[in-house]
Amino acid sequence: MNAALAIIFLFLLVSLYFGIRAKHGKEMNMEQWTVGGRGFGAIFIFLLVAGEIYTTFTFLGGSGWAYSKGAPSYYVLSYICLAYVLSYWLLPPIWRYAKEHRLVSQSDFFVSKYNSPVLGILVAAVGGVAIIPYLILQFKGLGIIVSEASYGSISPAVAVWIGVIAVTIYVMVSGIHGSAWTAVLKDIMIFIVVVFLGFYLPFHYYGGIQPMFEAVEAAQPGYLIFPEEGMSVSWYISTVLLTVFGFYMWPHTFLSVFSAKNENVFRKNAIVLPLYTLMLLFVFFVGFTAILQVPGLKGADGDLSLLRLSIQTFDPWVIGLIGAAGLLTALVPGSMLLMTAATLFAKNIYKVIVPQATDEQVARVAKGLVPVISLISLYFTLNGGNTLVTLLLMGYSVVTQLFPALLFSLGRKPLVNKYGAFAGILCGELTVAYLTVFNITLANLFPSWPSVLKDMNIGVVALVLNLAVMFAVSFATKGLSVRNARPAKTEGTPTV
């Protein structure tokens, strides 16, 4: 074992220790396990949200994209920042309602708002499907980090196994408390590592940030701005908007909203979190520096650029610290994702099918599902060949379809009814599935359109269909829902 690996494993042990210690002295019921008893203040929520957003994708995928695509990578900076603006108005009403009705999952929210357990099953299934590629992304990142840091002595497959086992044990022992403490460690680590690399590497190789960009521009003119066609400005604007809408629709992000102590937590975070996205800038600097220093990484290998450039530059112990930071960026979100998926399946699918199950039984099922979901994701990680970006965008296009139904439910009385919500989401998801499977874009459907239109993210089409169907079905079933709404069946559900 080299110095790099030794350091990475040390950090793994420390984070496991945090996880186990965090549980100590607390009774763990379902509400404790998943939403931390709703007692987290601004700083903890800040860390949790940041913990989920700054994942392996940011660390390896962000630099990988700057390396392989250039300017289009800037979109990451914009969408995260704008999502926080939206959160200022979106999250307080969600939190208030969730607290009042003691909800512990995203699909609970839909069940309660629309008074429809069936809609809850659909939302839980959508969340579960979207989470899998996101989990795979984290596991893949773990594999890259550990195997690169071992200088080839550990194969990516073995590295992934090690990471998956660690994440699984961690989640089963501690739930969200563990995540929050490891998030503290992770944020300090990632901040130091990213800022250091972002400054050091361009100065080391080019003598500054501007000389580095000038060298890239000279070697590959046009790489630093959005291209005329393809990933153009129009692609940028539509993609940012879609991902902003999808941002809080991830079941795990939605869940972390519940754990806040009061609603001002979100308002305050909306001021500070945008600045935190500036950390991405340094990730981009690393990716752009790597273009001319470690050339020739094609396709999915672009994700290796940060680590390859670091290995070429530093001693093994530095690689160990970088790898440890990377490990944590996979561990924190990975554990959140796993826990959320398990809760979704236990509470919103199992409990609905077996209504007589007690809370303890549901909690036991949730814990039992953790290793099962790990193994499923592990299987796809070892057998799939997608880049980190493809995986993320795939997940995003799935969750964004939940946004209209959520938005229209926020008022006192939902603007659409449960049939409309169900049909709209289903139609949106089927469109996304169809477009993804057949790899359809507006450019290959309508090659003669001007690039302003045809470069738009195809997800816009799915969202428009979703909305159209939602309103059409709501309108058509107007009479039905009024009749059904009267006897409210679920306890804790508001009468319409």
Partner: protein, 66 residues
């Protein structure tokens, strides 16, 4: 819409609506290509704008008193 809601639209207008007009490398600002600088500038402005909105928001003030 109240004034603070309009303020909330501003980051979208700047960061998305502005980009078609500034999609260029020159001039470099703080070492960054201009379009990247523009986005970074708006990230900072967003934070400022959100702080102003927070100050204007009666709901936030009420919550603080509690």
């Amino acid at each position: 819409m109240k004034a603070r809601h309009w303020l909330g639209v501003l980051p979208f207008a700047g960061m998305l609506g502005g980009v078609p007009f500034v999609n260029q490398v020159e001039p470099y600002v703080l070492g960054m290509p201009f379009v990247l600088f523009w986005i970074v500038l708006w990230v900072v402005l967003t934070s400022v704008i959100m702080a102003v909105i927070y100050r204007m928001d009666p709901a936030a003030r009420e919550e603080e008193k509690r």
